[in-house]
Amino acid sequence: MTSPAAGQRASRGGWHRTAAWYRVPGVTALAVGLGVAFGRPDLVLLAAPLLLGWAAALLAGRHLVGRPAPRAVSVVDAESFGNNAADVVTTVIGGDGVEFASVAQPGEGRGPIGRMVTLAGGPATRTIRSRFRTTGWGTTTVARPDSLGAGPDGLYLAGPVRRAPTRTELILPAVVAIPPFTLPPIIGGWAGAHVSRRPGQGSDLIDLREYAPGDRLRSIHWRAYARHERLYTTRTLSDADAELMICLDQSAYFAPRRVEGVRGMWRRAARRVRAAIVAAVAAVDARRDPAGHAARVDAERRLRATSLDHAVAAAAAVAAAHLGQGDRVGVMTATVPRRLLRPGTGNRQLQRIRHQLALLDDRRTRMLQVAWWGLTPGQIVVWCSPLVTPAAVHAAIECAARGHRVIVIDTLPFAGMLARATAADTDHLRVLAVERQLELDRLRGRGIAVISWDVGDLPGQIAEATRVMRGRR
């Protein structure tokens, strides 16, 4: 996708002379004038290499005046796009006769203009391939090929183009590997990874009964035959799949406080210097302890996450875990307008879910009453919510009251909010935390499992959730 408006802004004249073009005549005139006037041949000699180099550069670049400036166009190599990584192919057009051209390239983790590459001129078209990788999701600017063309010795310049046509792509959210929930016996379904309470073809043994004509030979219990010399067959519980509906709460949106932009030249300069020092220390740290550095970067990234980031990450992880074991998973926003992806199975369903998640935005909308959610009997509800409003807590309780198994994923980015909070906000947040803890305890008391995505240790929390669900009465 290219922004036409950005493309119109991108144009900036053709070739023009730089300060270097005018520098040599000025210095040469001074040196030769003084040398001739005062009989100093050394001053004339001093200007000789300057003048020779300048003349040679002028001869090499005489054809540039009047020519169109080189420009750059980026496309995303669709075949290699996936799992948050993209190969961006940038073509520099109009490079014949140009001495060199610099073009902005995306960098891995460094944004759409993460690096500059300077290419030699010569061929009319040059192509650069760069790898773009981001930890973000949603509609993202992948490339913005700002460019600059230069003539011999930098005497002529075309550009710089600072707002080149951008290339945006829909980045699907990454999938965090988590174990699936161990669900209590399920009523429906005929095949899957969960046990049911209904006798049938499955793996969990109920008891033995006497053989009757028509029973399958493979279900005969041969050890019982050896002991009693009579044929017995095993009765098992039927296996079952589960149907999960991941419900997203978009009625509330929370994000860590953003650091205000610094005003004043000196303060901005000080911030840049500090950022450069931090980046240098981080680079040394990354070389010395790559694993520890990656963990610290991940922790810092989590501190910047919003409630929507947590909800999207949780939904993608739960969907992947359960689709991987054959369950049916759907996703819906429990707000107006309601967006629904019906339950399905397989990898294509996971791609559909990630695509739907990538389209979400941070607009807050009104929550729907549970009666209008369209839940079908037997569905397991995964409720992703920051749980800061009574309506959100009540929705979980009402789902449970309607007979659904409910797993609540708390998506409030509390650690990040606390880390960036002002002194006044800190007290307010601590009170909020106490109030929420009371609500969460109320949910757990009703047999509703609650997992905090912000806290981490997901396998441990999922094991605890299993214990809570089994204790439900």
């Binding site: 520098r23 300057l50 300048w54 060199f100 500059m116 650069i128 230069a150 011999p152 930098g154």
Partner: protein, 165 residues
Amino acid sequence: MSGAVAAPGVSDMTTLGAERVPVVMAGSGWRTWHGWMLRVVLGLAVGGALAIALPGAAGVGVWSVAGVSMLAAGIGTVLAPGTVLPLLLLVGLVLYRFAAPGPVLGASLAVLMALIALIHQAAALAAVIPLRSECEWAALRPALVRYAVAVAVSGLVYLAAVAAA
């Protein structure tokens, strides 16, 4: 060192039309310059030229107003090579040479000739190559060739002048 070089294993075909064009993979090699290296070269050239010119001038101390102005112009040339500061520095070097006593065609003149041309060319290139750019060697080759030819020809003229004197 990372930069833009021909990518090993990458086809030189592109999806952009049927024309065969060379493909480079950014950040996958070592045969590159960085923009900041050009500033280092410029800084060394400026430092060398000032070291030759400043002490040699008659009656003008290094820590005089003129000397400090030259140092400031030199630092400014390295930090902002696209401004008027390189011009001021070169004019100052010519004036300092004008004020210098001693042999007119000495060895210092030959070194200063090469350094003044290097200051001009490195400043011109540093002004148009971004500081954090990864630069192909081939992009700088024509400039290096022009510099070498200009200095060589000027050196021959210098030798002829010395011989004639």
